[in-house]
């Protein structure tokens, strides 16, 4: 199975090489190869899902798990290993990537005509980057994939994007690179601290070993809480730099609207659907998993930023007239929930946070795909110019409504399953943050339903055909109906939006061992932590932490 996982990760890269090296592929051949690759990857991922054992904490499908250390000696040093494996945190994100890639290929089916082989090659390279990132069990391997994703996405935005594509791609690249370099320092710091203070001076780059080793590090300063200069806080901040930009958390979100709007539809789907999860996945895996006391110390600040992100994103989304821009800002808001759930610092919030990552990927991916379908037909994304598509494109309208409702967290659909536990979890830690975050749900319903109202319902409004496209779109009776590939790309997402909403159990069951472990680690370190200076609970005005002993309540409530 370990080999199957490695094959699954590397298969798209192979497809990408074929697309680059094969001479003179035409568009349909290129997209067929790309589709074949993504479908095969999805099939392999499903096999992995089927053989994933529920209730197991250790990473599965890993190389050499019995020998103590995961992975093959393949990279630079014996310590940096080629180590893949999936656990509860990464499993669903891995599958989400495989699934959204199919949607991305489908949504590019007609839209991309220029240099199609190159386009699909970058798309597939991006898939390998993302799959590898989620599957990595080695910090350096993780980082390599993390950075590698920048290159294909840079070209996808820069070559096939909208009018401002150059600025968008440069900004996206540099912004994320700057942050992730600091994250690299944080990762190195973790390894060095573990090497220097672990009892046997073990040099390891393995994520599971580091997580275990750092939790029980015999170094008193490591377990300090509440001081800005304690090592966990400093490393937490270094790690946070890259992930906060990727998520993006509130003051670091400025690259996102530009990149989303300028990217081609497939780029937006992957960017919002998967790439933002890279940030929150990193936060969970590294910040929460390895420096939990940093999270405890900085909790008021981070929860504040998350709440500001939720409300600010929602308010800005309300003011948008461009659909793509609206969905982009809604991402800022919804990712705020994901972060808020993490910093609830209890298992309810963590579970919600992990499942919300998947939910957001599904709904936002679907929304971007729907907007893309509309844009392909009308060449506009202005809500004032398009309306009443229920009469013209009923299938699309149905998809649009369903994904918007899922995104707005209607009970019975997937968004609710994520956002509700997040708020419940947060409530036990800080009531004010939970209540303020809750307003984000209301505002979310407002802007999404507003968009649906304008675009889907009402009398049919279509833009006057511009002269550029006079040949194919002059007569609106000839608006192309929704094609098979668009349905095929969106239908699985719709099914999952409903499925997760109705039966979240199977999904949560696979997440829980891992999120529970993070929670256990968090609570045990919190219990044994030494408070550096007795009075320094960081004096931030907005949120007062609820009494810490209220922690037991949500755990009882959880199941």
């Amino acid at each position: 199975m370990a080999t199957l996982l490695a094959i699954t990760v590397l298969l798209p890269l192979l497809g990408s090489l074929v697309l680059i090296l094969a001479p003179r592929l035409d568009r349909s051949a290129a997209r067929n190869i790309a589709l074949g690759c993504t479908l095969a990857t999805m099939a392999f991922s499903l096999i992995l899902l089927a053989s994933f054992r529920t209730g197991v904490l250790t990473p599965q499908f890993a190389f050499e798990p019995q020998a103590g250390t995961y992975g093959l000696r393949w990279l630079a040093r014996p310590d940096i290993r080629f180590a893949f494996g999936l656990d509860g945190l990464s499993l669903w994100l891995f599958l989400l990537t495989a699934l959204l890639m199919i949607t991305a290929v489908m949504s590019s089916w007609e839209a991309i005509s220029e240099r199609a082989p190159l386009y699909y090659a970058f798309l597939l390279a991006l898939e390998t980057g993302l799959l590898g990132l989620f599957a990595s069990l080695d910090v350096v391997l993780f980082y390599i994939f993390f950075e590698f994703t920048l290159i294909p996405l840079f070209f996808l935005i820069g070559l096939w994007g909208g009018p401002e594509r150059q600025r968008a791609s440069i900004m996206f690249f540099l912004y994320t690179l700057a942050g992730s370099l600091l994250t690299l320092l944080g990762v190195i710091a973790l390894v060095v601290v573990h090497y220097r203070y672990s009892p046997a001076n073990v040099l390891t780059f393995s994520i599971p070993e580091l997580t275990r080793g750092l939790a029980t590090l015999p170094w008193p300063r490591w377990h300090e809480v509440g001081s800005w200069s304690s090592p966990q806080v400093l490393i937490f901040l270094l790690l946070l730099a890259g992930f906060a930009i990727k998520v993006p958390m509130f003051p670091f979100h400025t690259w996102l609207p530009l990149a989303h709007v300028e990217a081609p539809t497939a780029g937006s789907i992957i960017l919002a659907g998967v790439l933002l999860k890279v940030g929150s996945y990193g936060l969970l895996r590294f910040n929460m998993g390895m420096t939990p006391l940093g999270a405890v110390s900085l909790f008021p600040l981070l929860a504040t930023l998350a709440v500001i992100g939720i409300i600010y994103g929602a308010l800005v989304a309300l003011a948008q007239t461009d659909m793509k821009r609206l969905v982009a800002y809604s991402s800022v808001s919804h990712m705020g929930f994901v972060v808020l759930g993490m910093f609830a610092l209890n298992s309810t919030g963590l579970d919600g946070s992990v499942i919300q990552m998947v939910n957001h990927g599904l709904t936002t991916g679907a929304l971007f795909a729907c907007v893309g379908v509309l844009y392909e037909r009308y060449h506009t994304r202005e809500m004032s110019e398009v309306g009443g598509i229920w009469n013209r494109l009923p299938i699309l309208a149905f998809f649009f409504i369903l994904s918007a409702l899922g995104s707005a967290a209607l009970p019975g659909l997937n968004g609710f399953v994520g956002e509700f536990p997040i708020l419940v979890g947060m409530f036990s830690e800080s009531r004010r943050a939970a209540v303020l975050g809750g307003t984000g749900m209301i505002l979310g319903a407002c802007y999404l339903l507003w968009m649906i109202l304008k675009v889907v319902f009402g009398p049919l409004r279509e833009p006057a055909a511009d002269h550029e496209h006079a040949g194919d779109g002059n007569d609106h009776a000839a608006v192309r109906p929704v094609g098979w590939h668009e349905i095929a790309g969106l239908a699985p997402l719709m099914a999952l939006i409903v499925l997760i909403g109705v039966v979240p159990g199977p999904f949560l069951d696979r997440i829980r061992p891992s999120s529970g472990e993070i929670d256990k680690n968090l609570q045990s370190q919190r219990g044994s932590s030494t408070v550096a200076v007795a009075t320094t609970t960081i004096p931030l005005p907005n949120i007062t932490a609820a009494p810490r002993n209220a922690l037991k309540a949500p755990q009882g409530k959880r199941r």
Partner: protein
């Protein structure tokens, strides 16, 4: 030392120096023969390539030979061996880039001087003696003046050559002054002996005299590696001289200068351990140099539009990253069982840097537009679709320079930052971590100007036709640089092991037959056992 041992030592030394002697002899022969034979430049170039290849074979043949480290002026340890290997291979690449450069009538002198530079660089890699080190460094410098004068006789080249000449002479003076002090502190000129003495005797080197030595040697070498405050010649000289010479100047003096720093300074000073005041001062000085070099190089590179000037500032910036390694190397004392060594990261970075910077210069050499050389960033517009392969090679080299995985430059930065994080002065690791943070912020700034070129190549429409030139040797050299940047990014293992071995060799100063009692808290042999992958 009795005559018998002295004779043996000289014999051994000459034997391990065979590769240098071959290259030097060929260089001298070419210079002498040049006035009498009117051969085309291709012939001279072929002779040069033949000499380098012969030296390569000779180097492989002498790879096992060792000399007594306290007697010999040259060492064939791992640093000497791998260093010379890198010099020879990069020499071949440079030769391929230069094959079309000189006019037929000066080709003999040109390639002769080129071979001498290589011989000098190889001498520095092996040097174990202050005077020998200086000779090696001068053997790099002097033919460089000649090369600068030999190329096109325009007023800018003359100005460039003069500028470089005077500054280089000045820096050699500084260096020599510092080396004299380094000799003065213990009265020995053998570097390994100096290291051992300063390890055993607390009064050596004398703190004040030692500091003078450190400052002046560092200053003299900073000129060669183009580190602040001795960097200012670089942009003018690079811009004014032919691109091939800019490529040569951006790599050879830099590689040589850093190896000389390791051989003469860090390996000698660092044995005092991190608590020594001299070590602390040395760390402080190189800390400031590193930070200033990185910041200045990257900031000014942002403003450049001329490709050669841009690469010159980028070369300065990379000298700054490498100075982080030097800073760390000063602090890597004998008792520090560190996971990453400063010199190890320097060596790895140098290899990666050689590939990526020579590749980048190579692409510029290999392109021509509208009857002139490619000069500005705008000249490259649309290159990604008019000349896909050169553009791809340049893109790989530039992304590698900016440290994007999975390319060789990423591992270089990784090693540098990892060594900085692993270092500490006593319990204080704050300065190193701060330096690493400054380093990554600079890397992020640096990514911008590299990315600008990539953007111009791929995202802008072509303005003018750009045609390749230089034939297969340039193409081969550029292809080798680009593909090795990628391959070493995916499989950095061999270079990591080699630089590890070279780093251990550089700090090793204990004779093999040393009695066990003296090895108290032993330097390299005992702490190398703590390093996990050495046994693996």
């Amino acid at each position: 030392m009795n005559p018998q041992i002295a004779y043996e030592s000289v014999q051994q030394t000459l034997r391990i120096l065979i590769p240098e002697l071959i290259v030097l002899a060929a260089g001298v022969a070419m210079m002498t023969a040049s006035p009498f034979f009117r051969w085309p430049r291709r012939t001279w170039c072929a002779i040069g390539a033949g000499a380098l290849t012969a030296a390569l074979l000779a180097l492989l043949a002498v790879s096992g030979l060792q000399t007594d480290m306290y007697a010999a002026v040259a060492l064939n340890d791992s640093l000497g061996f791998y260093g010379r290997l890198v010099v020879l291979l990069s020499g071949l690449i440079l030769l391929a880039l230069a094959h079309d450069e000189p006019a037929d009538d000066t080709a003999g002198e040109f390639f002769g001087a080129f071979l001498m530079i290589n011989a000098g660089a190889m001498l520095v890699m092996t040097a174990n003696e202050l005077v020998f080190l200086f000779v090696g460094l001068e053997l790099v410098s002097m033919p460089t003046y000649m090369l600068l004068y030999l190329s096109r006789r325009t007023s800018t080249t003359q100005e460039t050559a003069t500028k470089y000449f005077y500054l280089s002479i000045f820096s050699s003076g500084l260096l020599l002054y510092g080396l004299a002090f380094l000799y003065g502190v213990a009265g020995v000129s053998n570097l390994k002996a100096l290291a051992t003495l300063s390890w055993h005797l607390p009064s050596i080197p004398h703190p004040q005299l030692g500091l003078v030595a450190v400052v002046f040697v560092l200053a003299g070498l900073c000129f060669r590696v183009a580190a602040v405050p001795f960097h200012f010649y670089a942009p003018d000289v690079y811009q004014g001289s032919p691109t091939v010479l800019a490529a040569l100047l951006s790599w050879v003096p830099k590689g040589v200068g850093f190896v000389a720093m390791v051989r003469a300074l860090t390996a000698v000073i660092s044995v005092k351990g991190p608590d020594d005041p001299l070590v602390q001062k040395a760390v402080m000085i190189s800390w400031v140099v590193a930070a200033a070099t990185m910041i200045l190089g990257n900031t000014l590179a942002l403003l450049q539009n001329n490709l050669k000037r841009l690469l010159a500032y980028s070369a300065i910036a990379h000298a700054g990253y490498l100075m982080i390694g030097v800073t760390v190397a000063f602090a890597n004392g004998p008792k520090s069982g560190y996971v990453y060594y400063g010199c190890e990261s320097i060596f790895f970075y140098l290899v990666a840097y050689a590939l990526m910077t020579l590749g980048a210069f190579g692409v510029i050499i290999g392109l021509r537009t509208a009857g002139r050389d490619v000069e500005t960033v705008e000249d490259l517009a649309g290159l990604g679709f008019t000349q896909p392969l050169p553009a791809l090679a340049l893109a790989i080299c530039l992304l590698s320079l900016s440290g994007i995985p999975p390319l060789a430059g990423f591992w270089g930065k990784f090693e540098i930052f990892a060594s900085a994080f692993a270092a500490s002065l006593g319990d204080n690791s704050g300065p190193f971590i701060l330096l690493a943070v400054i380093g990554v912020l600079n890397a992020a700034v640096g990514a911008y100007y590299y990315l600008r070129i990539v953007v111009t190549m791929y995202l802008r429409p072509a303005r003018q036709t750009v045609v390749p030139r230089g034939g297969w040797p340039v193409a081969l050299a550029v292809g080798a640089c680009a593909s090795l940047s990628l391959i070493l990014g995916l499989f950095p293992g061999p270079i990591v092991r080699a630089s590890r071995a070279a780093a251990l060799a550089a700090v090793d100063h204990s004779p093999p037959s040393r009695p066990q009692v003296i090895v108290r808290s032993g330097p390299s042999p005992s702490h190398s056992t703590k390093i996990p992958w050495v046994q693996n």
